[in-house]
């Protein structure tokens, strides 16, 4: 079993024409459902709040005014920079740390491995409101309140990422490690030169997932920052939801702006993701 791996294939068989048409209809239907909310988001972001509340969607109301106003109403540019700094650092460092641990959990044998892992797994289910205040106190005592450190460091240790990578690493054939060890390679080398290059698809998936999670995280940045200059986009957007009224127009415009970089990242990641799959198709072996 483990020796197979000469070629991996995305498409098992060719489809007949009726089957292909049927498939397209189904996929198109899914697409419509998935896209409908975005259409609403876009429309609301393009008309003034008063027009939206009166459900007046006449073409004369449409303009890009809300996008400009979003930047005028709050220092959105600064929020943007903060979000990028935090999301990029967390994504890179978290995956690195998780990957090391996952490699050990999946492919090294040491005492207590299963027990420690089960311990990790168990904490995956701790509901976050409960760790919120303790973590706030920890960060406060470390003197990190209202700094990038508070936004970044506690998010670097993800049981979820470790779990995901371990699942993937367990699925890779052990022959590679074996052959490399025969050649005298260290575990660190095996991890960096064999396992990491082989995990293209899973790393692409995971980085997009981690990035969007941090990008959209709200409660934690809210609690550990206080100055305007440390706010991230979701915390900034929340300012448009008031006690008595909501600035729907600005909220939606801000959400569309916030969506863009993640979408761009995904489009880029998707290309790499396909390459990653081609590479991990192990054609290079």
């Amino acid at each position: 079993m483990a020796t197979i791996g000469a070629s991996f294939s995305g498409s098992p068989t060719r489809l007949s024409t009726p089957a292909r048409i049927g498939l397209h209809v189904l996929l198109f239907l899914f697409s419509t459902i998935m896209l409908a909310p975005f259409a609403v988001m876009l429309v609301v972001s393009l008309i003034p709040n008063t027009a939206f509340l009166a459900r007046d969607f006449s073409p004369a109301n449409f303009s890009l005014q809300n996008y400009v106003r979003t930047f005028e109403a709050v220092p959105f540019g600064r929020y943007y920079i903060n979000s990028i700094v935090v999301a990029v650092s967390v994504t890179v460092l978290q995956i690195l740390i998780s990957s090391l641990a996952a490699f050990a959990f999946a492919r090294l044998r040491f005492r207590g491995r299963e027990a420690i892992f089960l311990f990790y797994l168990a904490t995956l289910m701790i509901p976050f409101p409960v760790t919120l205040i303790p973590n706030f106190l920890i960060v406060k005592n470390l003197g990190w309140y209202d700094t990038y450190l508070a936004l970044i460091v506690p998010s670097l240790f993800s049981v979820f990422s470790t779990f995901l990578l371990r699942q993937y690493y367990r699925g890779l054939p052990l022959d590679f490690d074996e052959a490399a060890r025969m050649d005298g390679a260290s575990s660190l080398r095996i991890w960096w030169q064999i396992i990491v290059p082989l995990s293209g698809p899973v790393l692409a998936t995971l980085s997009i997932f981690v990035f969007q999670g941090v990008w959209n995280d709200f409660l934690w940045p809210l609690v550990v920052t206080t100055s305007e200059t440390m706010r991230t986009i979701p915390v900034g957007l929340a300012a448009f939801v008031g006690q008595y009224s909501t600035a729907w127009d600005l909220l939606m415009a801000g959400s569309v702006i916030a969506l863009l970089p993640v979408l761009v990242l995904y489009v880029i990641g998707q290309k790499w993701f396909v390459q990653g799959i081609a590479l991990s198709g192990m054609g290079g072996r």
């Binding site: 483990a2 294939s9 498409s11 098992p12 090391l100 044998r109 920890i138 049981v159 729907w248």
Partner: protein, 308 residues
């Protein structure tokens, strides 16, 4: 002797792996101890105390837990959360797999479809929830569509009050969650499907297996580690559902869509009952932990690993 057993023996021969193992997990483990274990342990301490805004006021023993068991709202939220789990998890796995299998065929536009399905995953949940409120409102687009469909086929139904009735409010949350997360399931499944070796299909094809049989006997077992991962992941997601009902229905009407975690949040930050919140979290945690142990045990029966 198969290569399988030889590789196991080779691994056991290397005593230095003991220390290497610890070194590899060290960075992760240190952070884990400080930001997860310490926080969790503190919350356990809080749950057996009387804990106010400014901290410790006295030991309470199990009083917080006893109060909880008598609290009808806690039972209501437990039931709601159970509902979310049994609807969201299977539906999301099934829909995600259907999408992934569909996109794993040689068809035009697969990349575009994939992008479209994934877009909700990267969208701010708050914006998504607000849009769903508009879509599902009593006179909203969804109900207009349903009403005309019922009219067309002369069906004796009326469009539901998605957000304003106890009967449907949970379903609104389920719909939003499916929209938001199915794309992630799809992508993970797709990565798994693309890792299935072609030779196995060819072999099955030669043996005369039809499409469904190949899917059932080759694909499903080979992607079972992924299914296991997604299953656990979605279970946890469903157990911890928070933002979706929080923004869309505020848990209403009549607590009908209130999730356990949302109730924990209210206890902590609306009612300033940190102790009660911590006790609830621990009840939830014990429950999920037991479930995970059970799953970890059960997975041996249906999950297939190459390197074992």
């Amino acid at each position: 002797m198969t290569p399988h057993t030889s590789s196991r023996r080779l691994f056991r021969w290397r005593p230095d792996q003991q220390w290497e193992g610890y070194l590899f997990i060290l960075p992760s483990f240190l952070g884990f101890l400080v930001f997860i274990v310490l926080a969790v342990v503190m919350s356990l301490g809080i749950s057996v105390s009387e804990w106010g805004l400014t901290g410790f006021k006295g030991f309470a023993g199990l009083i917080n837990y006893q109060q909880l068991l008598r609290d009808p709202v806690f039972w209501q939220t437990s039931w709601n959360t159970a509902f979310y789990i049994v609807t969201i998890v299977p539906l999301q796995l099934a829909l995600g797999l259907i999408m992934a299998v569909g996109l794993n065929q040689a068809i035009r536009g697969a990349l575009v479809y994939r992008l479209i399905y994934f877009m909700p995953v990267v969208t701010t949940i708050v914006a998504g929830a607000i849009v769903f409120r508009l879509l599902l409102s009593t006179n909203g687009p969804v109900n207009s569509l349903l009403a005309s469909a019922f009219g067309l086929f002369n069906l004796p139904f009326s469009a539901p009050n998605w957000l304003g009735s106890s009967q449907f409010s949970k379903w609104s949350v389920v719909l939003l969650t499916l929209w938001k997360n199915t794309g992630f399931t799809m992508v993970v499944y797709l990565a798994a499907l693309q890792g299935v070796p072609r030779e196995l299909y060819d072999a099955a094809h030669t043996d005369g297996a039809n499409g469904w049989q190949r899917f059932r006997n080759v694909t499903l077992p080979l992607i079972s580690p992924t299914t296991f991962f997604l299953f656990i992941f979605q279970m946890i997601g469903a157990f911890q559902l928070f933002t979706e009902p929080f923004v869309m229905t505020r848990g209403g009407p009549a607590n009908s869509s209130l999730s356990v975690v949302q109730y924990i949040y209210f206890a902590a930050f609306r009612d300033i009952r940190m102790d009660k919140a911590a006790a609830m979290a621990w009840v939830l945690f014990i429950f999920i932990f037991a479930f995970t142990l059970f799953q970890n045990f059960m997975q041996k029966r249906w999950v297939y690993y190459e390197s074992e």
